[in-house]
């Protein structure tokens, strides 16, 4: 089982769109996937039309196996389930380690309901907190959308510094350029600089700013499902392939 975190310490960079489409792509490729919606401002549950569960407001939640398995909702797509839990998780690291341990009660409970996932995808809130620290150490890979602007460049550097300060392996970071705009020459320049500066950290794929992605909010479904031939859908497909190759 793999744990992938979708993370950015800056909001509005297309993080949730990435999580939603990546989850869809994983499931479409036959990986049994659980998308955990950990971002109270994000809306991955919203995109799958899953209503947030009222029962899930206690921080102790992850110690309660039964409540956890009951909170999972099937999406409309085969092989993709959603954990619509937007809150802070004090015990999130406990949860993640239990997901890894095949003998844990949590894992057994999931197996019993055929919820033995191949991939757990975490849509993380945009800050550096205890939660994100837990996520960083537990995840096999962290996918980081970066808008090629000077400001985003600075927040990305902060993230790398945080990793170094906390002795976390930098190679877990898989950044990519998000919401790129071909006409802006600044974007092109920034991308070139950053690729040089952070060798190996950036994926080749970039996701351009398109109206198809914007329309996801209206369609309330991954763009890969509603417009599979669109440029955006194909770019997410390539992003999935490239990321999975690296993991």
């Amino acid at each position: 089982m793999k744990i992938i975190a979708c993370y950015s310490n800056k909001g509005g960079v297309g993080k949730t769109a990435t999580a939603v489409n990546l989850a869809y792509a994983l499931a479409a490729k036959g990986q049994r996937t659980l998308l955990c919606d950990l971002d109270p401002q994000g809306a991955s549950s919203f995109y799958f039309r899953v209503k947030p569960s009222k029962k899930l407001t206690e921080t102790k939640f992850f110690e309660d196996v039964e409540r956890f398995t009951k909170a999972i909702r099937a999406s409309d797509f085969d092989g993709l389930d959603i954990l619509p839990a937007n809150m802070t998780f004090r015990d999130f690291d406990v949860f993640l380690s239990r997901m890894r341990n095949s003998r844990s009660r949590l894992k057994k409970a999931l197996k019993a309901v055929k919820g033995d996932y191949d991939v757990i995808l975490l849509d993380c809130p945009p800050n550096i907190s205890t939660l994100s620290e837990n996520v960083f150490s537990a995840a096999d890979g962290i996918i980081v959308p970066v808008i090629p602007t000077t400001l985003s460049q600075r927040t990305y550097i902060q993230l790398e510094q945080f990793f170094q300060a906390n002795k976390l392996p930098l190679k877990k970071l898989h950044a990519f350029f998000s919401m790129t705009q071909g006409v802006k020459s600044l974007h092109g320049q920034t991308m070139e600089d950053m690729r040089k500066q952070h060798k190996k950290r950036f994926l080749k794929t970039q996701i351009a700013f398109t109206s198809d992605i914007e329309r996801m909010g209206v369609q309330r479904a991954p763009v890969m499902a509603t417009a599979p031939r669109s440029q955006a859908a194909q770019a997410y497909g390539t992003l999935h392939d490239e990321l999975m190759e690296r993991l």
Partner: protein, 507 residues
């Protein structure tokens, strides 16, 4: 993701209109109809083995579809060739799901028509799907119905419950309760090799005997077409068993009919069976082909090959003769007359025991037969002549038939506790007999070989001779088990149950 393995349902085809017509709780049904329809055939064995297991198998073009499944049907590509026996199917999901099926029964088209797929989604106010069902609407000439595979979605148990409730309101039944074949063909009568015969407290021996014979005449008739078409060898087997059961009613139910009539009828049924004996023997040989080859070393296989080739030719000839007989006006007239006679009881006069209560009559017959078996068995040790073992086998068979005929008159569990060890004993005796019969018939086969083609016949004789030797050895092995098998059957409990059920508890 689906939660568990859920049952499939059968529902009237207009249920889709009902379901999409009005809201289901707070949910609404959204239908997506498949653009095309496809030809389909429902496949099952003659005795509807799959239907009785609650399974529906459909062939559509090059695919097999099978319900129930986790969601949607299980499918397997099988290409253009017809599927006759499940054992011939290449390995795949449908083959695996079918599991153990009777190897000798072929799959027959039981209903056919056109099939359309319709997906139903129960959606909430956010247009989120909360439960799903896949409908396969089957339309045949005389009826239509839909197979429904509901799918629960994790976290939405309530919606699934509502879906099942709504389906129930439309008259949906699980595939274990309802027959797709019957829904598509209202005139269809399922074939039952062992009909359930009712025995009332006041039924007379005469009525019981007549009822059994009537039922088995009908069974025999249901097998004629399959014998003629050579669909599979079980048709002839069942046909023969039906006739044999009738004959045993005539000989076991002493004095139920007038003596003279009984004798004449017995002769008539024996004659009907005689025409089928050789073909059945050959069917068994062909079936055991591999077994025989495995018994002998490869150096002797050429002779066996030739023997089986001769058997195959003889079988073709025997089948043609029997098929012609079954299609002849004379046979039709004879069997119709028999059916009418047992239907109307015309020229079927009761004998001195005819008016006796069937149950007390049965108890008397079974007890007598059981005592006889014990007597024979007590005299058998490892040195006794084989003749006695054959006698024991015949008596056990008679006991078994008697018990099966009268089973409805006795307590089920106690009866079962007797039948199970009896069957085991019969298996041992049956093998002993089979090996013996095969030796005799192989010897006869050798004797029948002419003097022509001396060299090849020598080769054949060598193989068959070796085979007879092996079969003899096997027969000895079975013979050695007989004393123990009987002791296993005739335990203290068995003895007590026989006394309790058939002899008022007395010994």
């Amino acid at each position: 993701m689906s939660l568990t393995f859920l049952p499939s349902y059968l529902v009237r085809s207009d249920a889709l209109d009902t379901l999409s017509g009005k809201p289901i709780g707070k949910l609404r049904a959204r239908l997506t109809r498949g653009e095309n329809d496809f030809p389909f055939k429902v496949l099952d064995t003659h005795d509807e083995h799959l239907r009785r297991r609650g399974i529906c198998l459909v062939r559509s073009g090059s695919d097999l579809l099978l319900w129930p499944a986790a969601h949607g049907p299980i499918t397997q590509y099988v290409g253009k060739d017809p599927v006759e026996f499940v054992t011939d199917l290449p390995d795949g999901p449908v083959r695996q799901a079918l599991g153990a099926v009777p190897e000798l029964r072929s799959l027959l088209p039981m209903a056919q028509g056109r099939m359309q797929q319709v997906l139903l989604a129960l959606v909430d106010t956010e247009e989120k799907t909360r439960a799903r069902a896949e409908f396969h609407v089957l339309t045949a000439q005389d009826g239509s119905a839909a197979i429904v595979q509901p799918q629960a979605l994790r976290g939405y148990d309530g919606a699934y419950t509502q879906l099942i409730k709504a389906l129930g309101a439309c008259g949906a039944k699980t595939l274990t309760e309802a027959s797709v074949i019957a829904a598509l063909n209202p005139d269809h009568r399922p074939y039952v090799a062992k009909p359930d015969l009712k025995l009332g407290a006041k039924t007379t021996a005469y009525d019981a005997a007549t009822g059994i014979i009537k039922a088995y005449l009908a069974v025999a008739r249901r097998n004629e077409a399959g014998i003629i078409a050579d669909t599979d060898i079980e048709f002839l087997h069942d046909y023969r068993i039906a006739l044999r059961k009738i004959r045993s009613v005539l000989s076991l139910f002493k004095d139920v009919y007038k003596d003279k009539q009984t004798l004449a009828l017995k002769q008539q049924f024996s004659d009907l069976m005689a025409l089928t004996g050789r073909l059945r023997d050959l069917d068994v040989y062909m079936q055991e082909r591999q077994f025989f080859f495995d018994l002998l070393p490869e150096s002797l296989h050429a002779g066996l090959e030739r023997m089986f080739q001769m058997f195959a030719e003889e079988r073709t000839a025997q089948l043609a003769t029997l098929a012609a007989h079954l299609q002849s006006p004379a046979y039709e007239a004879e069997i119709t007359a028999l059916i009418n006679r047992f239907d109307t009881c015309h020229k079927l006069r009761p004998g001195p025991e005819g008016d006796r209560n069937a149950q007390t009559y049965a108890a008397k017959l079974i007890w007598k037969r059981y005592r006889k078996i014990c007597q024979i068995a007590e005299a058998i040790d490892d040195q006794t002549e084989d003749e006695m073992v054959h006698e024991l086998r015949i008596q056990c068979k008679k006991l078994r038939y008697l018990m099966e005929f009268f089973a409805p008159a006795f307590p089920k569990t106690a009866f079962k506790s007797l039948l199970k060890p009896l069957k085991k004993l019969q298996d041992n005796l049956g093998l002993f007999n089979d090996y013996s019969v095969q030796q005799n018939s192989l010897t006869a086969f050798l004797d029948s070989l002419g003097t022509k083609d001396h060299d090849r016949n020598m080769q054949l004789a060598q193989s068959v001779g070796a085979l007879i030797a092996v079969l003899h050895q096997r027969q000895r092995e079975e013979r050695l088990k007989v004393v123990d098998s009987f002791a296993m059957f005739n335990s203290k409990e068995t003895q007590q149950t026989f006394r309790d059920l058939f002899h008022g508890g007395k010994s």
